[in-house]
Symmetry: C2
Subunit: 196 residues, 2 copies
């Protein structure tokens, strides 16, 4: 069964791929708004891990709205949630039996409620899986340590294929470089170099 | 890392084992109240699947309370929830890095909230995993069809190692045979014969 996993090149979505790949033919899929080429980092990670890779085009207007919302809020949560929901919709339009993402039990954002999951499944006739949603942060960290060779550091230094790079670029473009550090307080990102 | 998975011999807990076994040294563990020998069905399934198997002793008073609660309610939900929470506590007392169960996204019962999961983890210094909680009913059914050789039918005909057999026996003992069908309306059970 074909499965499209929304992929960033980070530890969570990579671990989600490892959990699913005995059960599905997994393709790692990265959304791109056309703002930057950050998606190539996700492609490179997918290549090193030996997974098929694809991209879906996302709507730049959604990213712009999300960037504006983040500035208005003063924090990124709602903007990231909006972008994630949009990306899931696009991935669910692919011709696959199932779509998945790397959301974890302890994530504050993005989250996909049971009602949202059911709606996505019904509208697109697809299964939606979040294989890590039954795993807490500690369990994920231990599995990552055991299975993955990971590079960690602050967002601006770690290459990554998720939306954050594109959202940061849009923030700078629309609201000035200084808004980036206001909206995204220092937080650590991870990028997967390969399997251990 | 050692993991103890609360096991019934049914499709959900078996699928949970398959999802976890590339990451953990899985032992299938069945709770027993000492009311019937139904746990042996779970042991037999574990043997056929090639997993290590163990049992934990459960407190008969919990099962009796649960049976009384079910009769009072007229439905089994709260009683099953109480028994499941008790069994998770007992499994979490084992000397393992992680415990797990087969709860699914669409299960009405048992459910383990994020707060309950966190509490179990903190009190027992263990990770709690519910690998199927990110899978809907349709996805589980498709995976079971692909991976497992399963026998299905009404509860009274299907051998199974979960608490239901013991709870049914206690209901009959304490409240009369006829309460069983009032409390447990007809529902289908599964028992795993082996891998496909």
């Amino acid at each position: 069964m074909d499965l499209a996993l929304l992929y960033s090149g980070g530890k969570d979505s990579t671990l989600a791929a490892l959990l699913l790949d005995s059960f599905y033919d997994v393709t790692l899929v990265t959304g791109r708004f056309g703002v930057t080429d950050d998606w190539k980092h996700a492609r490179d990670a997918a290549d090193r891990l030996g997974y098929d890779f694809d991209t879906v085009e996302l709507d730049r207007a959604v990213a712009e709205d999300a960037a504006d919302l983040m500035v208005e809020d003063g924090y990124p949560r709602n903007g990231i949630q909006r972008v994630h929901e949009h990306a899931l919709e696009r991935v669910a339009e692919l011709d696959v039996a199932a779509v998945a993402d790397g959301t974890r039990r302890d994530d504050r954002v993005p989250t996909v409620s049971r009602a949202q999951a059911q709606s996505l499944e019904d509208r697109h006739d697809v299964d939606y899986l979040s294989p890590l949603v039954g795993f807490g942060r500690h369990a994920v960290d231990k599995l990552v340590e055991e299975k993955l060779d990971v590079e960690s550091g602050p967002s601006e230094r770690i290459p990554k294929g998720d939306y954050e790079g594109e959202l940061r670029a849009l923030l700078a473009e629309r609201h000035g470089q200084e808004t980036i550090s206001t909206v995204f307080p220092d937080h650590e990102q991870t990028y997967v170099r390969g399997l251990k």
